[in-house]
Each structure stands twice: as C-alpha cells, then as structure tokens.
Amino acid sequence: MKHLLSTEDLSLANAISILDTAEEMAAVGDREVKKLPALRGRTVVNLFFEDSTRTRISFEAAAKRLSADVINFAAKGSSVSKGESLKDTAQTLSAMGADAVVIRHWASGAPHRLAATDWIDAAVINAGDGTHEHPTQALLDAFTMRRHWARLAGTGSEGTDLKGMRVAIAGDVLHSRVARSNVWLLRTLGADVTLVAPPTLLPIGVEKWPCKVSYNMDETLAQGVDAVMMLRVQGERMNASFFPSTREYSRRWGFDDNRLRALDTLGMKDTIIMHPGPMNRGLEISAAAADSPRSTVLAQVRNGVSVRMAALYLLLSGDTREPAAAPALAYAGTHPTKESN
C-alpha cells in the first residue's frame, strides 16, 4: 500500500493487516507513556479543505503518538481561500518535504488526484472526500465491530473478520462517504449489510451494491441485527425535498426510544448502536439510544486514533519508502508485512 484512498479496492489481507496493527496501537494508548518513536523525523500534513475538527484532531493525535511532526493546513484563511489550486498546494507541500498528506476535501476524488498526479510524491490518506469515501472511518467502525464480534465469540480479535455479522446502516446513504466506505469494507470482511433509508436518499444504482436495501427500519430490526449504524442527517438536506419534514424522518428512519426498546423486546441483547458523529440528538438518534450501554459512539472515537496510527505506520514505514532510520515498533508484536500497489 502506498496510499489509503478507498475501501473499495482494499484487499482482505490489507484490511486485516490495518485492523491487527490498530490493535497493537490501541495497546500503546493504554500505557502511561502513549508514544512510539516509529515515525520520528517524518512529516505528516493534515490538509483540510473542509472543516472537521474531530477527524483532524484524531489524525493529529495518531501522528503525534507515532512521534511524527504534524503540520495542520486548513484551507480556510490560507492561500487556498485566495484561489490557489490543489496542484499548487500539493507542490508546495511536496517542496516542504511532506511524507504523508492526510486530505479532507469537499470534492469527491480529490485524494485520488493527489495520488495519481506527479504533483506530490507523499503517501496520501483520504480523510473524507465529498460524498465518495471515508476509509479510516470505515476501518474504525470495522475495528469497533470486530472487537464486539470477537468478544461475543469468546476469542481475541486479531486476525478475525466479520463473517456472519448483521449490520444495518441507516440514513442518508446518497450523500454519505461513511456509508460507501463501510459497504465495501464490510463486504470484504464478510459481514451481511442492509442499508435502511428513504428511497430519495439512496443512489441510483444501489441495487448493484453488495448489500440489501430496505425502506423499513422496523422490519430490518425485526429480522435481526448485530449492529445498527446511524448516519448523520445533514442540515442542507432538510429543505431539499428529500423527505417531508425532520419529524417524519425521525419517526420512520430515526433510532428513537421505541426502537431502542424493540431491541430488548426482540431479545437482541448484544446489538450495538453506532454513529460516526457528530450526532443530531432527537433526529436520527434519540438521546436515550446515544447514551445507552449499547452505544459505541465514544469507543469509535477512541478506536479512530488507533486505526489512524495503524494507517500512518503502515504507509510510512513500509518497504516502498526509504526512511533514514527504519523505525520499528518499540515492543514485541507481529510486524506487519507490506505490499506495493
């Protein structure tokens, strides 16, 4: 792997490798000194063309725990807002010696452009591009699900996949990069995915995706789910005829208190409720659901740092790059192997 652009083309071996490495990284977060020397002397640029404090600080924490130097480049208030092109920005970062660029962009495909052109030679990590993909979000979701699934099976999670796990992803699939990345990654990991959404918020062509599609939340729950992932409803959808009103949306597709009770009634004591954040409490998820013991929202945030550490580590310390001093994990553990692509 030279870049992490999408989960669509992420192989099972690479996905498992990232998740297993993230488990090792998580162990670092439990230590008193939460820091590894692995990426000392390497420079990671957080290039954010779209506001996202949560994702940026997660990547920043991940890079810093690996001892990398971190530069935060927010497009607002920078030369980008004065009309500088992506090409010029990329060439500038290249000239400054960036080893990795973590890019968040409002335009789908912008990370692919950085990776495909000769504008910059750095490793590119997609931190969310338009309505396309958000691969590290899907990886942290899968990490969270895998721990849960392995715990239920009474095993450790390393090396495992999600075979047999039933996952419902509910909400604005049409505009969701989180949903897309999750659909591809969960397919690769063997989970059984159902998308639940109003027909207006599903893309034309969704019937060819490797998942089931439902317009009915209650039926989906009744058929049995092991994880329910609620997607955020963006404010700009609310007045564009995608659905009649927020109340109707909430009644039909939100995870409200009735549905939370239904999980108990249906005997699904181990079903978890996930949300990538930030949540619209009372819209797509009720406060009781968000705060219930089933909720993995904070675990997802915690796991996000581990997964991003793994991604940075695997991309920057691989055989395809020639660091001055080959860094190594400072403790015993399986050393991940690299693949070029």
Binding site: S108, A110, R113, G130, R177, P203, I204, V206
Partner: protein, 446 residues
C-alpha cells in the same frame, strides 16, 4: 471565385471508398473526374490507397474567440479543423461577449475569413446573453454578413417552453434552425457525471439521462406543433435515440448530432477522477454507446458534431468538481468515427461522407459544402489514408486545448490532404497555407 488556387490532379483516389478515379481540381472547383486524366501544369498527387471524401462540416465547434483567447482562437481552432479534414465549422455562440448580435457574429465571420483555413459559420445565440429570458435579434444575425442560419444557446438549455416555442417559430422566417442543448436544469443541478452505477460508487452528483430525454421529447412535440425545424445537439443516451426515431417516424422535422466521444467512451473512465473525461452531456454507458452507433448508422442521428471544447490546462488540472466540462475533438473526429463506425462494419465511407459532411451542410444551409465529388462542384475535398494508425498526443495538435480524452490511444485513419475551395490547406498530413479570401469574396457569402 478565386482564380489563383492552382491546379491539382489527384490520381487514383477511392471515391467515397468506392472505385478509384482521378479528380482534377482547378480554379476552386472539381473540373473533371474520370480515369487517366491529364492536365498541363497540374500538381499531381498520387492518391493510391487513399479515400476521397467531401470536406467535413462540423455543426458544433467552440472556437472561444472572442473572450477566451487563452483557450483557443479562430486561427488555432480552424488550423485544427483543417488538419482534421474539415472545410467548414459552426462556431458556437458562448463566447465573451456572447454571439447574440449581428456585430459579434460578423466579427467571428471576419476572423474566419482572415484565417482562411475553413469556412467559419457563426452560430447565433437564441437568447440575449444565453440568459434564457429574451430572444436575441435572430433576424439581424440572419441578415448580417455572417448569414446565420443556426441558433443555439449551447452550453445552456433553452429551458423555458414558451421561449423555445417562439424561437422555433421565429426562425422559420429565414429558414433557420434552433439547435438545442437538451438539459433539464433542475434535474442536473450540480451534476458531475452520468447518473448510474458508476456515479453511485464515486459519489459524484448524477446527470440523469431523463434530463436530456425529457427536453428532447418536449422539443420534438413543439417542433411538430409549430411546424419548425429542430436540431438536437450532442445526443448522448439510448432513450434520446428512441425519442428521435419516434419523432422522425411521425414526420417531425428534427435532426440530431452525436459527438465522437459519445460513440466510443463510457463513464467507466470517470473512475480515474481525471477531469479530461468531464464533459457535458456526460459520458454514458456501454448500452448508450451501442444505441448511438446504431442510431447514427440507421440515420436516426443525422450527423457527427465534435463539440470541440478546448480549455486551458489549469481548468483540467484540478479536482473533478472544479474542472471545466469539455473535450477537444476536431483532430480526432475522423479517426474515432472510422474506429467506432467503419471498422465495426456499421458504416461505409459513403455513410461517413453523409454524417460528417452532406447532412451537416444541409442542417447549416451551407450551399457549397457537402457536395458530391463531381465535375462542376466546389472543390472541398479531403484525402484520407484509412490504413494509417497513429497514437494521439495532445501536445502535437494544432488546437491550443490539451484536453483530448483520446490521449495515448492508437486510432486508425489520417487526413493526408484537405482542399478548401480548391486550395490545399493540408498537404502530406501537414498544414500547408490558408486559402486567401479576396475582398470580393469576403464581401458576400457564396
């Protein structure tokens, strides 16, 4: 007529892909055809193995001048046209200022004459400033020195049904045609690519086929209602072909065009996010490509129009959503059509002449273009080597635009010579010299 274009004896060219014959070109016309022709002092061109065709006529070219001379000029765009085998192009109206007055169309017309590579026929805007609110002075443009017959807001759809109806009716007064860019604006707000399986995966806002088809359906019915002539620009979907086939079956006076890129490329290419594949209407699916080829072969689609749309590199070296829509096409059209239509057995060279020249000249009402290769006809003739193969390199083209979606592809067919009014603008596959319009011919259009 200019008497100084010289005498050329073309020996043994396959006429429209048929039997070899000689063509004697003298004083701007085809003086004689036959075999074993002799002519004192003539420049002899050995055309064995070459196909002789009428000079190509593009119904849809963006020359960018006035206003965007950093993208293309009339001079560079018409050089590209001549190299591509064209002897006439219709220059679309979306320049800056918009070609919505007699003054602007006459300026473009004059620039074309000064360049001398092809006939430049300005297209007049349908509405003032392409704003879709008020008819431009269509009559003044029709009566101008440019003698405009085709009107289009291309780039933007004449969406208001009443305005479209009025435009269709009004141009009947001077045998004009309204060329519609069929795109329902509300259904394509922010659209980036064809809406379908690929857009679903890529997360790019979709441009649904129905946005084109619904406008075409409306417009053919309007054309029928008011008894006028409609031309549909760059048809891109299988459904559009069906609607036009239906309309022609009912005797509605509609013509349609397809671009070379829609005959060959599909939206799968967008997976690269390389904006060189961003175009409006967007690249569609394999099924659409098949339907467009079938429609062109059976005459449902009348002509190939390039929609040649050069852009400066900075408008393509960026994020997909930021990039300009459009592709160059003048220098690849012949090769792409040969590849997609002739090598597949769907069309002959005679059919090629119909869809690239004869029918196009008729739509634009160009009396001396698209004529048979017979004695007494204007000498707008090209010689094509159908056996040649070449690899597309945008940096070796005459157009200023580097945005060719065919970059790196090997394509068949090469234009060896282009005769424009009896003068070779292209010889041995390279630009020769432009035709020198005299004041006398510049004063009026033949």
């Amino acid at each position: 007529m200019a008497a100084t274009t010289g005498t050329y004896l073309i020996r043994g060219a396959s006429i429209l892909g048929g039997e070899p014959a000689d063509l004697l070109i003298r004083d701007g016309v085809i003086a004689e055809t036959g075999t074993g022709l002799q002519a004192e002092g003539a420049t002899v061109i050995d055309a064995a193995g070459l196909v002789a065709l009428p000079g190509m006529v593009d119904v849809h070219t963006h020359l960018r001048e006035p206003g965007r001379e950093d993208a293309e000029t009339v001079e560079t765009g018409t050089r590209a046209a001549a190299l591509g085998g064209y002897t006439a192009v219709h220059a679309m109206a979306n320049s800056t200022p918009v070609a919505d007055t007699a003054g602007v169309v006459e300026q473009v017309f004059s620039l074309g004459r000064a360049a001398g590579w092809v006939d430049v026929r300005p297209v007049g805007a349908v509405t003032v400033g392409l704003a879709g609110e008020q008819l431009a002075e269509l009559g003044a443009m029709a009566d101008s020195r440019a003698r405009v017959r085709m009107f289009s807001d291309d780039g933007i759809c004449v969406h208001d049904p009443v305005l479209m109806r009025r435009a269709l009716e009004y141009v009947k007064a001077f045998d004009g045609v309204v060329a519609q860019h069929a795109q329902e604006p509300r259904l394509t707000s922010g659209a980036q690519m064809n809406e379908g399986d690929v857009s679903a995966v890529l997360g790019l806002a979709g441009w649904p086929a129905v946005a084109e088809e619904s406008i075409i359906a409306r417009d053919v019915l309007l054309a029928q209602h008011v008894g006028s002539r409609l031309h549909v620009c760059h048809v891109s979907t299988a459904g559009s072909v069906e609607i036009i086939r239906w309309a022609k079956g009912r005797g509605i006076n509609v013509t349609a065009e397809v671009t070379p890129h829609h005959l060959l490329l599909t939206d799968d290419l967008v997976r690269s996010y390389d904006p060189v594949f961003k175009v409006n209407p967007p690249l569609r699916t394999d099924a659409d490509v098949e339907a467009l080829r079938a429609g062109l072969a059976d005459g449902t689609i009348d002509v190939v129009g390039t929609d040649h749309a050069p852009h400066p590199s900075e408008h393509k070296e960026c994020e997909w959503a930021q990039a300009a829509m459009g592709m160059t096409g003048l220098e690849t059209a012949l090769s792409v059509v040969q590849h997609a239509m002739i090598e597949t057995g769907l069309m002959t060279w005679a059919d090629f002449a119909r869809v690239t020249s004869t029918a196009a000249a008729r739509i634009g009402r160009l009396a001396d273009q698209g004529r048979p290769l017979e004695a007494g006809e204007p000498a707008n003739v090209i010689l094509v080597d159908p056996a040649a193969r070449w690899t597309v390199d945008p940096f070796r083209m005459a157009t200023m635009g580097r945005n060719s979606p065919f970059k790196g592809r090997e394509l068949p067919g090469k234009v060896v010579a282009t005769f424009f009014k009896g003068h070779p603008t292209v010889l041995n596959g390279e630009l020769n010299t432009p035709y020198a319009f005299t004041d006398a011919t510049a004063a009026g259009v033949a």
